[in-house]
Amino acid sequence: MTRLHVDWTRCDGHGSCTELLPELLAPDDWGFPVSLTGERDPQVPPQLERHARHAERSCPLMALRRV
């Protein structure tokens, strides 16, 4: 099972990831993604794997990685 890793050196709070994975990520006060699972790098459940791949491709800053 993969995990979502936010590269904070790149993230600029664009927000496609929070749109595609609302179960795992939500925008904070300033638009940056917060993990909703309590883990720093939230684990991706199998049914969301497709959306996680989409989110990784979609981030314009290339700040989201599946690890």
Partner: protein, 386 residues
Amino acid sequence: MSLTAAPPTRRLLTVGRATTLPTPGPVELAELASLAGLTGRGGAGFPTATKLRAVVAGHAPVVVGNAMEGEPLSQKDAVLVTRAPHLVIEGLAIVGRALGARQTVLALGPRVAAGPAQAVAQDHGVEVRSLRGGFVAGQESALVSQLDGRAPVPRDPLVRVTTRGVEGRPTLVLNAETLAHLALVARFGAPWFREVGTAEEPGTSLFTLSGKVRRPGVVEAVRGSRLADVLACGTPVDPVAVLVGGYHGAWLPADALDTRLTRSDLQAHGATVGAGVLHVLGPDRCPLRVTAGIAGYLAGESAGQCGPCVNGLPRIADSLRRLADRSRDPGLPAEIDRLGRLVTGRGACAHPDGTARMVASTLRVFAGHVAAHRAGWCPTDERWTR
């Protein structure tokens, strides 16, 4: 290995230069560090053996001694590097040779004089570099970035510097004091190192005493000592609380001065030994105002890279300032708590985490003070004007 007689406690500032440098191989050196139970003295307290083994083999690594001294309340590395540079340099040389390092560097922050180290460094092929300062500049990956000629800004921790660091090479960054201890372990052995201290925390550590003490400065103490005993070296004056671990540390109130400076004992207070900073707060200063000042400083020292830190820390500092100014806003403590949890774990380095930890400790230990401020008065003022 034959051992010469070694001094029992005042180790770091009394041992002279080694006549011949020990030359353990990489496996032997890691074994030595492991047997000695040596842990990092830079703040994180990582087992040194683990770090030595983590350096990816076979790529001519870079070994860096970290004496950046980014924590304003700390002076131990500056003192060590200027008064006993040979120990740090020898430690670097021993590690460098063991790992087959292509480059060994001693990184000095602006508060550390380079002269004494430079005099010794040449004999051991160690390069001394004086770098730009800042609170975050001593962070491992920020230091690596600076050594690469870039700004002292942390990197994404997904790729560890032990895999890819300076010039893309596996890099081992060890605190200057850790290297000094390692040099002594290599010379006098692991059992010698363990002669003092506790089983879980053997050896000695340098502590920096500051704040309301008659004699501030750096003291070497046996690990596992009671906080009160270490403080006694500097003669504290009416301590109300002690900030243990520096600006990213936690407060221990006056009734907890008997606490042993060990990981397990300090955990109950949400504190760690960190880099040995012990800052005494006297009765003449409002703890909330002091913390607001520290938080403001920490917000300004953000590398300015990660959104939650850049945005969150100034908000935390601002809220603390309002609290110190006796704002009647009932939601203030909860808001500070929320912001602290919001920034924790969300950045390339632990700057927001440490800030949040220190602030949370303040609100917890000085809960009475917080309640008074919200009611419009300050116990410090009351006490002082009486």
